[in-house]
């Protein structure tokens, strides 16, 4: 079936299986491999995207459910050639190790700071609780979020 999507402000069209996840469509049909495919169970958050400004796991959303809604992936976070301040903060603090969790964490942090520009430590923990880092580099991820909040 043909589905029309709005991804990072652009209209896209994809031919999808009705049971196909948004993550699969983004990665395999639309050439947007930034959202990562790890657990496909909603445990790890590496596929996090914004759907109508809400943070969701794209592996748990059918592409058909996303039709008519605004999708923002990690590819849509940077402004033109400049990194977003959250991306900049991750680079500066060394919050990236193997990098697999990074796109999901970037999107989750952008979402957090949009709602809580000055989050408490507890709010950071809560907001990022759905994103697992298999390198266990949480301390530097924390530092990155604090730095981005100050920036």
């Amino acid at each position: 079936m043909k589905i029309e999507l709005s991804v990072n402000g652009e209209r896209k069209e994809a031919d999808v299986w009705p049971g196909e996840s948004l993550l699969f469509t983004l990665r395999e049909k639309l050439g947007l491999p930034g959202s990562k495919n790890a657990c496909e169970q909603g445990e790890c958050g590496s596929c996090s995207v914004l759907l109508d400004e809400k943070l969701v796991c794209s592996c748990l959303v059918l592409t058909a459910q996303a039709q008519g809604h605004e999708i923002v992936t990690v590819e849509g976070i940077a402004e033109d050639d400049r990194l977003h301040r959250v991306q900049e903060a991750f680079v500066q603090t060394g919050a990236v190790q193997c990098g697999f969790c990074t796109p999901g964490l970037i999107v989750a942090t952008v979402d957090l700071l949009a709602h809580r520009p000055e989050p408490s430590d507890d709010e950071i923990r809560e907001a990022l609780s759905g994103n697992l880092c298999r390198c266990t580099g949480y301390q530097k991820i924390f530092d990155a979020v604090r730095l981005a909040a100050r920036a």
Partner: protein, 279 residues
């Protein structure tokens, strides 16, 4: 496979025929469809067909956990159960109606072992790993019901309204039997539309899990005090949400060799919960 997106209840009812499955938030169903544990010819997306939102003591089945956890009108036990149920990503999509109908997390079942619950003859958890499994009613199937929200609603004495009847939440669930291995009594195509949740004098939901922020319940304890008394209900302790007469009813549990620890945790959480809701 096909997908339909009806925009009214009537259209949804017409679409929900043999071979179709209702999809709300998708957090439970999408992986089950992908793994072919749930097979369907047609997915019926019911988001625009079932009520969403909170009106006094009535909650639309399409209301997300994320919407509920920040609402000051709803009882504490339900709000806490929603907040502790999953990560922010899942709470943004998952609905309260879908949460009540989620399947067990038993990995033998999820990995499609030919187990009793899948229609086979054995419960692999009994002989294998069962640390997270049921301590009540755990034969012939030791799967544990994961819904925090269901335990909260059971303690609160909620009523479920479907497109064809009203029933106490306790009657939504049934222990599976040899000739009918379903965990709910819903008829094919029957849709949960709304929940009626009476306001208690006090209520709470406490949850023990492997990670601090969220994981499926090892033990969930809901307590609600009303003029008729205090009601306790458990998540993660039986194949269905479990009403507990009082703390001493824990003595009737039949734990497996690897999960008796759950009873110690339950005892501690029940005591804490009773203190929390005491007048």
């Amino acid at each position: 496979m096909d997908i339909l997106r009806p925009d009214s209840l009537e259209a949804a009812r017409a679409a929900l025929k043999n071979g179709s499955v209702a999809l709300a938030g998708g957090t439970e169903l999408v992986p089950l469809l992908r793994d072919r544990i749930v097979e369907a010819d047609t997915i019926v997306e019911i988001r625009h067909a079932v009520p969403r939102g909170i009106q006094g003591t009535r909650i639309g089945a399409g209301t997300t956990l994320g919407e509920l956890e920040v609402d000051p009108q709803i009882p504490d036990a339900l709000r806490e159960a929603c907040r502790l149920a999953a990560s922010p990503q899942l709470r943004a999509m998952g609905t309260i109606g879908g949460n009540l109908l989620q399947a067990t997390r038993c990995w033998y079942w999820r990995l499609k072992y030919p187990c009793w619950l899948h229609g086979g003859g054995r419960c692999f958890a009994h002989e294998g790993l069962h640390r997270e499994h049921a301590v009540f009613a755990n034969a012939p199937c030791a799967s544990a019901h994961p819904s925090d929200v269901a335990a909260a609603l059971l303690a609160l004495g909620a009523t479920v309204r479907t497109d064809r009847r009203e029933l106490p939440i306790a009657e939504l669930y049934r222990l599976p039997t040899g000739d009918d291995r379903r965990m709910t009594g819903l008829e094919p195509g029957e849709l949960i539309l709304e929940l009626e949740v009476p306001m208690p004098a006090a209520s709470t939901y406490l949850k023990a899990m492997d990670r601090k922020r969220f994981a499926f319940a090892l033990v969930g304890v809901a307590a609600a005090r009303s003029p008729e008394g205090t009601r306790l209900a458990l998540a993660g302790m039986a194949p269905i949400p479990w009403l507990l007469e009082d703390e001493s009813a824990l003595d009737e549990a039949t734990p497996l060799p690897g999960n008796a620890y759950k009873l110690e945790i339950a005892r501690a959480l029940i005591r804490r919960a009773l203190v929390a809701v005491a007048p």
